[in-house]
């Protein structure tokens, strides 16, 4: 039974690894003509490295902005009851359900008017609403288990709001914060359509480069770039894996308080 699980995971990644080490792999050979040509090409081509840096820059910016902009809303949704809460929850959820294609064409028109079409800023702005649901939902669920009394205690002891935020609130929800940022980063990292239409010629992220390569028929290089593409997010997953346990998410960092 678990074997099927492993099979599914292996099926996802092994073909890509194998094919990246091939020069030509014609049917019906079971093994390719091994070669590092694809990897040579990748590391010598500036375009791929630049695309990697662009992707990191865009996704980091998106994650940062989404976190800063969504934090207070998540706290309000998790710790307070108010009229219209359901409407707010639905509104926040909307960008996770409505697909990119529905919004991007309208975005293109509006961004052209605002003159941020084809800019780095435009791409970042375009991706922020799509990361918001995951950031807010992730943080809000941690805030549900959060006791506002910690903050009241801190304020009684004389802590300023800023200090309370840094030394009480953030540590308490830290695991959820890490997981939400991870999710938002991954959502932004994999964006293709948005970057294609909004960024167009100016911003070239890895997905754009990858799609071009996948269509080119030269699978060796496409596979090598695919591995470069998924390595950063896998590294992030491993780094944050201790926060992904169910205990971590529901209890937060309260134990450390």
């Amino acid at each position: 039974m678990l074997a099927l699980l492993y099979l599914a995971i292996i099926a996802t990644i092994v073909p890509i690894i194998l094919w990246s080490f091939s020069f030509r792999w014609a049917y019906p050979s079971l093994l390719p003509a091994w070669s590092l040509a694809a990897w040579d090409y990748v590391f010598q081509q500036n375009a791929i490295i630049v695309a990697l840096i662009d992707s990191i820059a865009v996704s980091s910016a998106v994650t940062l902005f989404t976190m800063v902009l969504g934090f207070t809303a998540a706290k309000a949704l998790g710790t307070r009851e108010f009229r219209g809460k359901v409407a707010v929850e639905l509104l926040v959820l909307l960008p996770a359900i409505v697909p990119a294609i529905s919004a991007v064409m309208g975005m293109s028109g509006i961004f052209t008017l605002l003159k941020c079409e084809n800019t780095f800023l435009g791409v970042v702005l375009a991706q922020i609403p799509f990361g918001m649901p995951y950031m807010i939902m992730g943080l809000a669920s941690a805030f549900k288990n959060y006791d506002m009394e910690y903050e009241q205690a801190a304020s009684t002891l004389g802590a300023s709001r800023w200090r309370t935020l840094i030394e009480v609130t953030v540590p308490a929800i830290f695991p959820a914060l890490v997981v939400s940022c991870l999710f938002t980063f991954v959502v932004s990292w994999s964006q293709y359509l948005l970057t294609l239409i909004i960024g167009g010629s100016a911003v070239n992220t890895l997905p754009l480069a990858l799609f071009a390569l996948m269509g080119s028929g030269d699978y060796g290089i496409a596979c090598a770039v695919s591995i470069i593409f998924i390595l950063p997010v896998l590294v992030l997953l491993v780094l944050s894996s201790k926060y992904l346990t169910t205990n971590g998410i529901s209890n937060g960092g309260v134990n450390q308080l």
Binding site: Y27, A74, G106, Y192, L237
Partner: protein, 290 residues
């Protein structure tokens, strides 16, 4: 310390969503109704929608998208439940299995799609193994799983990504809250199957519902995966909309927006339906706990 007003706390996020998401959707609506039209002889009205809703290609695309989304979500739910039920016991190799379970989540959809492409096309890896084993005699004997009419390759891609996503939600529930209720049921004499259907499943339902709505919505409206693995006909709705959007004929523009807005409408209906269902389930849960 005076507490911040709630609306102030909600403001940044709501503002962002309003300006960067709702406004584009509204703009899309206006453009589909032919406001701001460049060509002079079009009038404001629902002409684009009439054209779109009566066109055969739209209807085929709608059914195609619906089929892909439903099948992949349903299969993923089944697999997620089965795998999570297995993983919650302390079986050997469990830690590695848990890690493997989460492995697919950060891998982007179209990378998985690419992998499926490498494996399951008629000249793909699986076909070569079958050929080497003598099971098939040539590449064209291998069934057409990619670029086909049913979107099989697309469905497989989605299932590979969806079942860990739903499964993690189910597993975390199984490992934490559900255990007590299940034990109670066991002490009351319920056997395995009864415990599953009367205790476990109802308690898992909200989490399953929530995560599978996200999956269904993604499968329905995604562009990247069907672009890589789909055939030229039928296209999924997202592909159809994009095709109209980039059409040289500017008269297709309103139709592109119309298609996109139909997708939006379906999604909004889905969200509202899901929310009413979830609140109903919550009410039942509250009743049950008393």
């Amino acid at each position: 310390m005076r507490q911040t007003r709630t609306w102030v706390m909600l403001l940044p996020a709501l503002l962002v969503i309003a300006v960067l998401f709702i406004m584009p959707l509204s703009y899309s609506l206006l453009l589909s109704l032919n406001f701001f039209s460049i060509t002079t002889h079009t009038t404001v009205g629902i002409q684009a929608y009439l054209n779109v809703l009566t066109s055969q290609s739209f209807l085929n695309s709608f059914v195609f998208s619906l089929e892909i989304a439903s099948v992949s979500t349903a299969m993923s739910i089944l697999i997620a439940i089965v795998v999570s039920m297995v993983l919650r016991r302390r079986v050997a190799g469990r830690r590695f299995a848990l890690f493997a379970y989460q492995f697919n989540i950060p891998v982007p959809h179209f990378v998985v799609a690419f992998s499926v492409l490498l494996l399951l096309t008629q000249t793909g890896l699986v076909s070569r193994w079958l050929y080497a084993l003598g099971i098939i005699s040539s590449s064209s004997s291998f069934p057409m799983l990619v670029f086909d009419q049913y979107g099989i390759g697309i469905i497989i891609t989605y299932v590979l990504k969806f079942f860990p996503f739903i499964g993690i939600a189910v597993l975390s529930l199984l490992l934490t809250t559900v255990g007590d209720y299940e034990q109670q049921a066991a002490t009351l004499g319920a056997n395995g199957l009864k415990r599953f259907f009367y205790v476990l499943l109802p308690m898992m339902m909200p989490a399953i519902l929530f995560s599978s709505i996200l999956c269904f919505a993604y499968a329905f409206g995604s562009y990247e995966v069907p672009f890589l693995l789909g055939s030229t006909y039928p296209k999924t709705l997202a592909l159809l909309a994009y095709q109209q959007f980039t059409n040289i004929n500017l008269n297709s523009r309103p139709e592109a927006f119309a298609i996109a807005n139909v997708i939006t409408l379906v999604m909004i209906v889905l969200v509202i339906a899901e929310y009413t269902q979830l609140t109903a389930m919550n009410k039942m849960a509250v009743k049950r706990d008393h």
